[in-house]
């Protein structure tokens, strides 16, 4: 019996190894592909920038020089913090209200019947319409931006959490009933972990969407934040700056999505700690 257990564990260990080896190989291939694509893009960009004037299309070198000077100046940190503050307040509001609404819609049929059309209505309305209204309601400082991030993200969170409820495994709930779990235990051990993956994907979508809305909002309505820098660059016809700020925004958006994805994935870390604790 013991021998067979050890054998199984060896098998699994080697399986793990093969798997990770396969993964790294795959990742390597992916990376080479990305690098080749990047090089082609840069070459094309350089070629086109030789044809057109820098006002239409600044060269990659010029853009990178501008990018470095932006990062070196204090402007980068200041404006990023302003935009990040707006983004986080909008998303926090959306997460709080959206989760509550989602949980209520998931738990109670009547609430779902009342609120579902309302949530879909909010979701179907184009963000630019909210932007216009927000500019009228809140004026031309950051509030309008926070508002559109909130109003566009909230239904995404609510609908995902609600969907998560519909997909909870009823057999696990039954298991909880048989083993006399308390209501709180069912909530903490079964329902909330079941919702986690839905919540996570909603948050990643909202993060990406949020950055775009934040910048759009600032371009249209604000004199601070990353978007306002793009407006300034446009006014002064500094196309290289538009490109440089664009790269910064894309990078920040990508980074924040990665951070959300990795912080909401505790499994691997927990397993390691647990092993050392037990043995």
């Amino acid at each position: 019996m013991k021998d067979s257990t050890i054998k199984i564990s060896n098998d699994i260990a080697s399986f793990d190894k093969n798997n990770t080896l396969g993964e790294t190989l795959n990742q390597k291939n992916k990376r080479t592909g990305t690098i080749i694509l990047l090089c082609i893009t840069l070459i094309l960009w350089q070629g086109l920038s030789l044809i057109y004037s820098p006002i239409i299309l600044p060269s990659p070198v010029m853009t990178i020089k501008t990018l470095i000077s932006i990062i070196r100046s204090g402007l980068f940190y200041r404006e990023t913090l302003v935009t990040l503050g707006r983004l986080i307040s909008g998303i926090c509001g959306a997460v709080i209200i959206g989760s509550i609404l989602g949980i209520l819609m998931g738990s109670f049929f009547r609430i779902r019947r009342v609120f579902e059309p309302f949530v879909y209505f909010i979701q179907a309305t184009p963000p630019i319409l909210y932007m216009t209204l927000a500019m009228i309601w809140f004026g031309l400082d950051g509030q309008a931006t926070v508002f559109i991030i909130f109003i566009a993200s909230m239904p995404i969170i609510a609908v995902n959490v609600k969907e998560g409820f519909a997909n909870i495994d009823s057999k696990l709930i039954e298991m909880g009933k048989v083993f006399k779990f308390s209501r709180i235990q069912v909530m903490i051990d079964i329902i909330i972990p079941s919702l986690k993956s839905y919540f996570k994907s909603a948050l990643i979508i909202v993060m990406g969407f949020g950055w775009k809305l934040a910048v759009m909002g600032e371009v249209l309505s604000s004199s601070t934040g990353l978007g306002s820098q793009i407006t300034d660059a446009r006014m002064n016809i500094e196309t290289d700056k538009v490109f440089a700020w664009g790269i910064i925004i894309i990078f920040l958006c990508f980074l924040s999505q990665k951070i959300v994805a990795s912080t909401m994935d505790f499994k691997r870390i927990r397993r390691k700690n647990y092993d050392t604790e037990i043995r």
């Binding site: 257990t5 057999k171 039954e174 298991m175 048989v178 083993f179 006399k180 051990d189 986690k196």
Partner: protein, 233 residues
Amino acid sequence: MILKLDNVNKSFNDIDVLKDFSMKIYSKEIVCIVGPSGCGKSTLLNIISGLIQPCSGKIKHGRFNISYVFQEDRLLPWKNVYENIRLVNKDSSREKCMDFISRVGLKGFEGYYPSELSGGMRQRCSIARAFNYEGDLLLMDEPFKSLDYQLRIDMINYLLKLWDNTKKSIIFVTHEIDEALMLGDRILLLSTRPSKIYKEFIVQNDKMDRSLDDSSLMRIRNDIIHSFQHKGK
């Protein structure tokens, strides 16, 4: 007697699954329920555990806890083996949980998540969980279905050892006649839908020391197969 079912009826969408079903379970016994698939064995266990309500009839029992090994493992995917087993009985000590884990042959896998285990390993984890719960009555719904022959024999021996320690009543649903012969004090053979107890076999041999070669067990085995061929189906 710790449990009594009196004329229990249950139907789903006009299909009668159980009709006037009566049975008694005494303390310290292992009752094996054998029957053709789809005859309502799982429904019966779900009614006893209170997961579903019968349409009519009475279920009498004192205040007691019921432990259940489901047909599927029903482990929480976000908890590892140790946490899944500990979860149902927060008062159990770490040593006790680890003891159950090693008894079902999962030593070294405490930190693994269900998705990283094979079907048989998951099922053994769910058996360990049911034992850790310390119910007064243990319901088992084809618990060894996904295990290989050797492991099945090991698990039967382990179940017997455990029963010998605790002397708790067990209702064991299976369609493997040999399993029933190794474990049961009584073997109830169910008929097709709507289920009734078609025949009851009492196995006299000491269950701690049974061999399938034994002539009395062979006789019961033949009886069961005979009944299956004639009325059971």
